[in-house]
Amino acid sequence: MSTAEVTVYDKISADVEAPEQARPSVLLMATGLVSISVFMGFAALVGFYLTERAGFRAVTGEPWLTEATVPLTQPNFMLLSVGLSAITALWAVYSVRNDDTANALLATGLTLLFGVSQIAQTFFLLSIMELEASADERSVWILSVIGAQIALMILAIIYLALTGLRTVGGGYSSKDYEGMASAALFWIVSALVYVLVWYAIYITK
């Protein structure tokens, strides 16, 4: 190797001054990107649903769903659940940042409880709605959107539960709380997806 090449290397590595970059953590960033992807997928799914619904109404002149088939009590309570779960997820992050393991576990547990309750309420609501996929296409569309949202919530529960377990094992602390922040971010996005479903399916019917 020539001395000239070595000098060039030196100029790049040492002589050219530049400030250090303060950048978000990579795991949090990747979770953010995945969250954007998930949200786009659900936005598209709901978009297709709304298009189908508008087409049905235009052709038949009939309502897509009636108040009788979709009671609002359960959807509204589910909204309350996911809203509270978003707050408790942030509480878990705050606790980990402050090395408060007990509160972090309490907050994580509560968040998971809200998530499971949301799934239970959804199944109860579906039993009231008496949808049959093979009976009519409207049911297929509704079940597709709701089913995908439940699948997302299950993924969020698994992610947060694993993060919680790692917190118990001392994996996260005030020095490194990226994992918990990432799980909370994914949780909040799954909560936002429910808000989308709540408005598109249950409210506007």
């Binding site: 060039v8 790049i12 978000p24 978009g47 297709f48």
Partner: protein, 552 residues
């Protein structure tokens, strides 16, 4: 001199890495982004040949659909055509781009590795399983036009797996550019290739889930019996949205960055207007994504009478023109004959991309002419109706062909980094000519057939004017040339080093202006023994200039 001693030590460290696992074990367990990138590129090239072979059969059948020559019935024709389209996009074009991004981006931004190298490896194996399932589903009479319910469902599932794994690989690339750049590498200093891969990845992360949503709905509707086996059009339309203009220009975004870096390096001087380059690439991203926002609820039926949609399509031509202009200023023969293909392939790629953009604009402004006519504002001499015809395939062929040429230019440019050898120049020269000619014939033949009213795939009748058969023949011969180009590229990649191409590692440095040229060829694990600190988008050329100034 202290620095000399330091550098010598660095050399020793980088070339005496501990021996790791070998063979398939090393591929499965690797935490290094480079073998993963090579895997994506090699297997993607293989699928390129397979998909173009299938496209060849479908193209010759389409010349005269009244009498099938190679296939048993029209269902088989639809299956072969669909598999060719799906493999070409998700099995070849996008994966080769992903592989190049996984390999080059960490080197360009001065990172020791990809943000999630094992994630990228996992994405590769998942993608490979998905592609295998896709082929199995078609072989077992599934897919669009298939006759077995289980295997149609498997086809939908395999497409979901493929797209999901591509999204994950794109997350790895985007996270690398956003999160693990070296000190001093601000976003405006990110090299053109890495920037274009960032835009490409972010768009893929946002656009591909729309196709997954389409797959979910299709799967449930099909399983519940609301889409029947014979409804070929509905099934074949699943990936239509992402293949239609202007969204299809999404795959051309990394090609722009690759072309600029490769061609400017060949010319011996970096592009000066770096911010303009970043802006133009970003603008093409906005144009590719814009249609998804405009017609979000009507993605399956793009609203061609929507003025915003027309403007969005027109917008695609502007950044391509800017980049093409910059390329033209930089085009000149490479003094190094071992890399002489690069500027040639770059120029042809830019030209074909411009052809695709012009065709897309022509297709988009057509409804404007019809609208003006209906309003009585203008009376066009003739009404050109191209939507729903082969016209769309012509645009797609131009874009895919341009990307293939950009890949030839890029892989040739970085061959010493990726494989530690120069690629076979006679093979690549022939591949470049074949790809350019093939793309032109395929694209122009399809566009002309569309104007002559030939219905788009999966139509199973040869409709249209008197010249349709001729145009379809042109398109079919174009696919023949593309297949030849794909095969030559694949052979160039997988063949061992020739006596002429094999060059000692330490002689393959200081070719370009960006950080990857600071590393060995190919780079050792960890890429940089000392994390570099940069002060511009072209740190190597800056340092050389500083060095020359110091010597004077």
């Amino acid at each position: 001199m202290t620095i000399t001693e330091e550098r010598s030590a660095v050399q020793t460290v980088s070339t005496t890495a501990e021996p790791g696992p070998s063979g398939i074990e090393s591929l499965l367990s690797t935490g290094d982004h480079k073998p993963v990138g090579r895997l994506w590129i090699s297997v993607g090239s293989l699928f390129l040949v397979v998909s173009l072979g299938l496209a060849l059969v479908a193209s010759f059948e389409a010349v005269d659909l009244g009498s099938l020559s190679f296939l048993d019935d029209t269902d088989q024709y639809v299956q072969v055509g669909s598999l060719a389209q799906e493999l070409l996009l998700f099995g070849a074009i996008v994966p080769i781009l992903v592989g190049l991004g996984i390999y080059i981006v960490p080197l360009q931004v001065g990172a020791s590795s990809l943000a999630f190298p094992r994630g990228a490896a996992g994405a590769f194996w998942t993608w490979l399983i998905g592609c295998s399932l896709l082929i199995v589903s078609y072989v077992a009479n599934g897919g669009a036009g298939g006759g077995r319910t289980d295997f149609v469902e498997l086809w939908i599932l395999s497409l979901g797996i493929i797209i999901g794994s591509i999204i994950w690989a794109l997350v790895c690339i985007a996270s690398t550019v956003l999160g693990v750049r070296t000190a001093g590498m601000t976003m405006v200093r990110v090299p053109a290739t890495s920037w274009s891969f960032l835009v490409f990845s972010l768009l893929g992360i946002m656009i591909l889930p729309v196709t997954i949503a389409e797959l979910v709905i299709t799967y449930v509707r099909f399983s519940a019996g609301f889409i029947r086996l014979g409804e070929t059009q509905v099934l074949a339309d699943v990936i239509r949205g992402i293949q239609s203009a202007p969204t299809v220009f999404w795959v051309a975004i990394p090609a722009l960055g690759v072309l600029l870096d490769a061609v400017s390096t060949s010319s011996g001087a970096p592009v000066k207007s770096h911010r303009t380059v970043l802006g133009a690439i970003g603008l093409l991203g906005v144009a590719s994504f814009g249609v998804n926002i405009i017609g979000f609820a009507t993605v399956r039926e793009p609203s061609y009478d929507n003025t915003l949609f027309v403007l969005d399509t027109v917008l695609t031509i502007l950044p391509i023109l800017v980049i093409f202009g910059l390329l033209l200023m930089k085009i000149k023969p490479d003094a190094d004959t071992r890399r002489s293909v690069t500027p040639f392939a770059g120029l042809l790629s830019g030209l074909l991309l411009l052809l695709g953009a012009c065709a897309a604009v022509l297709g988009a402004i057509e409804p404007v002419a019809i609208g003006l006519k209906e309003l009585g504002i203008a009376e066009p001499a003739s009404t050109l109706i191209v939507n729903g015809t082969m016209f769309d395939q012509g645009i797609r062929a131009a874009v895919y062909g341009a990307v293939l040429l950009a890949l030839i230019a890029g892989l040739n440019h970085w061959s010493v980094k990726i494989w530690g050898r120069y690629l076979n120049q006679p093979f690549l020269s022939l591949a470049t000519l074949a790809a350019a000619a093939g793309t032109f014939l395929w694209s122009a033949g399809s566009i002309a057939a569309g104007i002559d009213d030939q219905q788009a795939f999966p139509a199973t009748e040869l409709t249209g004017g008197s010249q349709v058969e001729l145009f379809s023949q042109l398109a079919a011969f174009g696919v023949v040339a593309m297949l030849l180009a794909g095969a030559l590229l694949f052979i160039s990649i997988v063949q061992g080093p020739t006596a002429e191409a094999a060059v000692p590692r330490d002689q393959l440095r200081w070719v370009g202006f960006t950080l990857e040229w600071m590393t060995e060829s190919p780079p050792a694990v960890g890429n940089f023994t000392v994390p570099p600190v940069v002060g511009s988008a072209t740190p190597v050329s800056d340092a050389i200039a500083i060095n020359e100034g110091a010597e004077e």
